[in-house]
């Protein structure tokens, strides 16, 4: 095999992390970066195994053992208080009278540069350590920005949900939207009719068939309510099984009662869930904006609620229109209002 001759200083230049050992294990020379791992200690003349432990392969305890693994990857640990782990490869030099060991930090480079205060010039020009450090910092900075963005987007999502006007399950408007519309109608002196719709036997569906069935029922209810109202009316889900309908410029009690009757009739049609029929009904209370002095959104909602309560008292599946009498008697059943069988 051909041989080359290289000056020791040049070797140190190319391999700043090398060790040159005599056959008895004495360190004859080491690279500048190795020196930095042993501050205040001259490695030259010291024994290799006093300064490093060979962790793998595990059968290495003398220079001869190192040469038995010539060319293979060795795992070393520095015998100082940092216990830095190193990777190394060894070859025989000087016709078998010495060993050249070249080392690298591998993944421990991040800790090593801090522990030994290393600079760019402590690494060989071909070593990728600096590129790796660069990547770690660049990616950390990019990741930090991304995390900030994620946090802000999360906050924005919560805020948007709070400001939303839509009930996500049914696609109907929500209470916020209803408040908004009612306030607008009252301020603009618009006439309107308002119905509180409360489902009957809905809890039974939830309890016996589960929440998925309940959700299916609510979606069907939403469809019926939209079918039975006009485009300019508002249909809102304001609670678990409570809905409010606002009929724009419609205060005709006769017409509203017709609509209420039709809604109850349609909601009593069995709703299919996974082959099983879900049976519900609804109670309705109606109030209109006519005939009030200084009407407020709260007042008309409360009146519709009183009418709804009357319907519930009548035995459910009924509709009732608010009258002053209801207000004074509060919960007395009014037999004068329409009944719907079911």
């Amino acid at each position: 095999m051909g041989q080359i001759c290289i000056a020791r200083a040049d070797l140190a230049q190319v391999l700043p992390m090398h060790l040159l050992l005599a056959s008895d294990g004495t360190i004859r020379q080491c690279g500048a970066t190795v020196t930095k791992m042993f501050p205040g200690r001259d490695l030259t003349g010291q024994m290799f195994f006093d300064c490093f432990t060979v962790r793998r392969p595990c059968d290495v305890g003398a220079v001869g053992d190192i040469l038995a693994h010539q060319g293979a990857k060795l795992h070393l640990v520095v015998r100082n208080d940092r216990k830095t782990s190193l990777k190394a490869v060894a070859v025989s030099v000087d016709g078998g009278n010495g060993v050249l060991l070249n080392m690298s930090f591998g993944i421990s480079v991040v800790d090593a540069i801090r522990d030994y205060d290393l600079n760019i010039s402590d690494f060989s020009g071909t070593d990728l350590a600096v590129e790796m450090l660069y990547l770690i910092e660049a990616k950390s900075a990019a990741m930090a920005e991304s995390r900030k963005l994620n946090t802000r987007l999360q906050g924005a999502k919560v805020a948007a949900e709070e400001q939303a006007f839509t009930d996500t399950l049914t696609g109907l408007k929500n209470r916020r939207a209803m408040d908004h519309v009612l306030t607008h109608f009252v301020e603009a002196n618009e006439k309107f009719g308002l119905m509180q719709v409360d489902l009957d036997y809905f809890k039974r569906v939830n309890d016996t068939l589960g929440h998925a069935a309940g959700d299916r029922v609510l979606q069907q209810v939403a469809k019926v309510l939209l079918d039975e109202t006009r485009k300019e009316d508002l249909v809102a889900r304001i609670g678990g099984d409570e809905f409010v309908l606002v009929f724009h410029r419609m205060t005709d009690i006769g017409k509203l009662n017709e609509i209420a009757a039709r809604i109850i009739q349609r909601l009593e049609e069995p709703i299919d869930y996974d082959g099983k029929p879900c049976l519900i009904s609804a109670s309705i209370g109606t109030a209109v904006s006519d005939g009030y002095q200084g009407i407020t959104a709260d007042k008309i909602l409360m009146n519709a609620d009183l009418a709804l309560y009357a319907s519930k008292n009548k035995g459910r599946a009924c509709y009732t229109v608010f009258s002053e009498e209801l207000s004074s008697k509060s919960i007395k059943v009014d037999h004068g209002e329409g009944f719907v069988s079911g």
């Binding site: 540069i113 801090r114 205060d117 290393l118 600079n119 760019i120 010039s121 600096v130 450090l133 660069y134 990547l135 770690i136 910092e137 660049a138 990616k139 950390s140 900075a141 990019a142 920005e145 991304s146 963005l149 802000r152």
Partner: protein, 197 residues
């Protein structure tokens, strides 16, 4: 344009001239928001609208603003991470200059979507005179590089002279004369970053 560039421009205007100026720029440029996100992409037109609005608002030429942006990116403490990444280029200003050839590639390693001009360093045979050629979008980036080169010279403690030269179409060229590489102490740099990085 990458959000990082837009966000840098925004932070430069905010940190240097204050929030009032920034809000004025936002309204002049008709921005639909008042903060760029570094990790999102934006239409190029927004970036140029912001630049023109800032130029109008501050009565400063766009070229001057871009150069100041470059200086800000290196010297403002808020951008320490960017200064550090540039210092990874080498131990001396000359090594840093040579590392600019790789800047585009390095940036792509970290952020594949970030588009920077290709940069080539010429000269330096006599050791003192260099020419940096920036080719490709974004337009005006050569001006930013002028500010970066100047601020990095301070960082390394080197004394340099910079001069624009007319390059071929689509290129921006800067002549760099290194007067003294150890003019002052420069700023401290250690490979080991601040704890937590």
């Amino acid at each position: 344009m990458h959000g990082l560039i837009n966000r840098s421009l925004e932070c430069f205007l905010r940190d240097t001239y204050g929030n009032t100026v920034w809000q004025d720029v936002v309204s002049r440029a008709n921005l639909p928001f008042d903060r760029f996100e570094a990790m999102l992409d934006y239409d190029d037109r927004l970036t140029y609208a912001v630049l023109m609005a800032a130029s109008d608002s501050l009565s400063k030429p766009r070229e001057t603003l871009l150069e100041d942006l470059g200086t800000y990116l290196v010297s403002n403490p808020n951008n320490e991470s960017l200064r550090r990444l540039l210092r990874f280029g080498g131990d001396t200003y000359i090594e840093f200059l040579h590392s600019l050839d790789d800047l585009n590639g390095r940036a792509k390693l970290a952020l594949p979507e970030l588009e920077l001009p290709r940069m080539t360093l010429h000269g330096g045979r006599d050791g003192n005179d260099f020419r940096l050629v920036c080719k490709g979008p974004p337009r005006g980036f050569g001006r930013v590089m002028r500010g970066v080169l100047r601020a990095m010279a301070d960082d390394y403690g080197a004394l340099v002279l910079l001069k624009d030269i007319d390059g071929e179409t689509g290129c921006e060229e800067i002549a760099i004369t290194l007067v003294q590489s150890r003019f002052s102490d420069g700023r401290d740099f250690r490979l080991a970053g601040p704890v937590g990085v």
